[in-house]
Structures are given as C-alpha cells and as structure tokens.
Symmetry: C2
DNA sequence: TTCGCTGCAAACCATTTGCACCCAT
DNA sequence: ATGGGTGCAAATGGTTTGCAGCGAA
C-alpha cells in the first residue's frame, strides 16, 4: 500500500479493523484503498474500478465494492447517495464534523459545507416533531459557476 | 374517477395535461389516481398496487408506475427518494411551498415541515459557493416518539 | 379506424452473492 | 492446511420497456 496516499492514522485504523474482524490484508485491497485515498473525492465503485483499469485491470468490480464496504464499516469512508442513482464513497476521519453537500447537476462537481446554524435549526425541528434525530442530510443541487456560464 | 378523493383543481389539471399531450383518460388511470389522492401520503408504486389488490387486482404494476409518472409530469405529484431504496410519490398542488421531511427509521412515518430560516440559509450557502441553486432536499432521519419509547 | 393504453414478461442497472480456485497466515 | 479473498457470472430488486392485443376518441 503506497503510504504516500494514505494518512498513517487511516492505515492503522484499517489494519486494526482487519485484525479485529478476522480479515486479511491483500494486494487488491491495498491497491484499491491506495487509489481511493489518492482520489480523495466522492467516488463510486465504478469510477474507482475504471481508474484502476490501466495498471490493475485484473481487479474485479465486485472486489472494489467489497473493499469500499469494509472502509465504510471501519469508519474510514462515508457512503453517500445523491440523486444520480449510484453510491459514492468519501474518505473521512472518525472525528470529522458532519457536513453537507452542494452538487452541480451539470458536471457532477460535489462541494462540502458546514453550517452550524442549519444544524441547530434541524435539532429544533426534530424536537418540535418529537423525533429523536439519528442522522440528517441536506443536499443543494444546482449549477456551479462554470456550468452556469457555459449555459448562457 | 371518484370525485370525492380528488380536488377539482387537480382533476382539471390532470385532464388538461392529458389533452395537451395527446394522452387518453382510462379506467385504470382513474382508479389509480383515485386511490393515490385517497391515500394522500408518501406512497410507492408497490404500495399503491398492493392497495388496489382486492378490488382491482387486474391492474398491472407497470401501469401504476406509468400513471404516477404522468402525475409527476403534470405537476400533481412529487417524486421523493428517501434512503430506503424506493421512490415514493406525494400529492401536491402546483403552488405549494417547498417543504422538507422527517422520517422515522423504525416505522417509516414521514412528516413534513417548512422552515424559512433554513431555506434562507441554504440560499446563502449556494451563493457563497457560486452555485445557482435549482433544488434542495433536507431529510431528518430518526425515531418518532412512539418508536423511541417502544425501544426503551 | 386510429393510436394510445394495458398486462405480461423480459430488460435494465447498480449492487450483491454463490462458487471454485487462490493465497495470506 | 485453514479459511478468508478473488474474479467471474449469475442473482437481486426496484423500475422501465417491448410487444401483441385492447379500447378511447
């Protein structure tokens, strides 16, 4: 696993998770995880698999799915489902704050934002409805500046 | 179409949409739409199809899907995709305000809420990121009071 | 008498899983 | 040598679509 891409804490957490669950370290997993942390974005299994096409074309799509699921279970990635039909994975640290997303409907650009006021208002809404809030997601969809200008 | 269930404005808008698009009124569509407006909730095609099982068991699931899509295109229903894998439809008037949803992860209860402060903050976020906002969705997931107490 | 509509079954498509073989421990 | 891992192909599951016959205008 090329250590350059992967934060040491993430690597440790991953290896620890494997050990704790009777799982094994393999070259395929190392390659996939290396690419995942290199990309750093919001990637789908398909995208990651395509990115590995050239050099590691023997790695199967199913293995990519399985490895991403392990990362999610280990707390190293978040599963994100936007409105485009497929699941993306985003690398994260276990102590990251919650954040939301703003997605360009034209080019697929995903940006993150945090807004404490909105978080607070959501807690209020949940309380007013007698709900115990367990998670929440806010997605803003639109056109990024570049795509918006292209369209004019 | 049993007029009791369907607001006159919705009925008119539906018939007008059919005419404008060279579509026809059929008994199956009337039955499906009647049931949809009777339910008034956030229903999936599957649920609606099941609800028609007893009396109208010959109506195919594909027709339910097709009819709900027409309602959405006519502006009489919103497609909603929460995190449970299937599409729900919610009846709406063309002049309804945007609203968001709070969903019980245990029993599936869906409630709606409006919050102008959150709406305003989202506009600000979009502006700060140089996005032209086209739509947005906010979903709060948790446990409703009944399910939360059941769990203790 | 047109076309659109319907039910059925097959197709879709992202994701998962069964299986026989492979490899880390 | 165990037993988990892998690639492949087949299965899944919600949704869509092709098609031959049906029905509204």
């Amino acid at each position: 696993m090329p250590k350059s891409n992967i934060p040491a804490t993430a690597k440790n957490r991953y290896l620890e998770y494997l050990g704790r669950n009777g799982l094994k370290s393999t070259v395929q997993r190392d390659i996939i995880i290396g690419e995942f942390f290199k990309t750093r974005g919001h990637v789908s299994a398909e995208q990651l698999h395509t990115a590995l096409r050239g050099i590691h074309s023997s790695i199967g799509l199913a293995t990519v799915y399985r490895t991403l699921k392990i990362l999610a279970d280990a707390g190293l990635a978040h599963e994100r489902r936007f409105d485009d039909g497929f699941t993306r994975y985003e690398c994260c640290a276990p102590d990251d704050n919650h954040h939301d997303h703003i997605v360009c409907l034209s080019c697929g650009l995903v940006q993150e934002f945090e807004n404490d006021e909105i978080e607070e208002l959501q807690r209020t809404v949940a309380a007013n409805h007698n709900f115990r809030m367990l998670k929440h997601k806010l997605e803003i969809y639109g056109l990024c500046k570049a795509c918006d200008e292209k369209k004019k």
